[in-house]
Symmetry: C2
Subunit: 190 residues, 2 copies
DNA sequence: CCGTTGAGCCTAACATCGTTAGGTTAACAC
DNA sequence: GTGTTAACCTAACGATGTTAGGCTCAACGG
């Protein structure tokens, strides 16, 4: 008579990451609670610890899940500079699609696309130059995403109103433009 | 007979921000608790709310306090490109000196040094170009600081070990180098 | 076919967090 | 003296991550 306490099918980690991502996307990181996630998947909070060691593992999984949406362009650009631009433009698009998760972007997870770094060394970059460029592109894209996703209410400024309005608008064009500049500059100094 | 419940001198906001910054620097952001801060200044947690509306205001104050350590070079460089480099190198130094506070770097507070942006427009940059450059320098420096402060334990990578070691080392040289490239590129496209 | 086992869930509780309600104390104004 | 008030207090609330311990039921070995 009592409704079954067991779910039809057992939970999977992927199911948890999927729902957790949806919660964070919809209502923000602070809404992503163990109890909230549990409710969403039809379970009690403590049960989640049968699948995850702690909340940190959940957040890691959410980042992996988010990054899994990254796709390389088809076909792959012949010019390596176009390829680099495409990779990080896609990285940027991924972060812009999940603005609430930007604070997690600094996390190191196992799915970072570092194969592009090796590719750079094969193009004639020294290890040092390749790492400098690779780190710079990552840093810039993440930094840009931090501000473009967190700048809703900024009005504190002694700027002329035109500049102030422009300054609180972080445009994809700006991101791509500077990204390209970084790539060209490292190409020139190779 | 009971020891006095009042402190000698009343608390000030600056005193709170100072101690809060010290706590975060020493033990991390998660150690910066209302109760911990209260204990540190010799008061109970609830008393803090006579000086601050909430914890967010505390964090804002900590960021302002941190940024207050930023100093412009003396004398100010004659070349505007050197000036820009100096401003953001100092910005970077400030963040590197407080790695635990990097997650707060995206916060908008009233003390952002946007006067440099106006200066750019006076040099002949259009409003759009000036903002593009200004945003790019901010984004890059903050992004770089995110990774250089959060990369202690990253070992997950399928990179050759030499590259992997180099990749987990985020050097100030790299930051300055790319910063300079961004400035030069915008100068050239003016 | 029956006993055991263990995966997958549960209830209950813990410490800690930010925050609020309401009381006490001491200094100062009139 | 008699308020008034700033600055502190104790006590508590609800929410959080997490742990301990128990139930249930399908699967499997004998």
């Amino acid at each position: 008579m009592v409704t079954s306490k067991k779910r039809g099918t057992p939970l999977t980690k992927d199911e948890l990451f999927e729902h957790a991502l949806a919660i964070a996307d919809a209502d923000g990181l602070e809404a992503l609670t163990m109890r909230r996630l549990a409710k969403e998947v039809g379970v009690e909070a403590a049960s989640l610890y049968h699948h995850l060691p702690n909340k940190d593992a959940l957040l890691d999984g959410v980042v992996v899940r988010m990054r899994s949406e990254i796709r390389l362009p088809e076909p792959i650009p012949a010019d390596w500079k176009d390829l680099m631009e495409a990779i990080f433009a896609e990285y940027r698009r991924n972060l812009a699609a999940h603005p609430n998760l930007v604070p997690l972007a600094g996390r190191r997870v196992e799915t970072d696309p570092d194969s592009g770094l090796i590719f750079l060394t094969q193009l004639g970059f020294s290890d040092d130059d390749a790492v400098d460029l690779w780190q710079s592109m990552i840093a810039f894209v993440v930094g840009f995403s931090v501000f473009s996703s967190a700048y809703a209410e900024s009005d504190v400024s002694d700027l002329p109103s035109g500049l102030a309005a422009r300054m609180s608008d972080w445009r994809d064009n700006t991101c791509i433009r500077t990204l390209r500049m970084i790539i060209e500059s490292y190409d020139a100094s190779r």
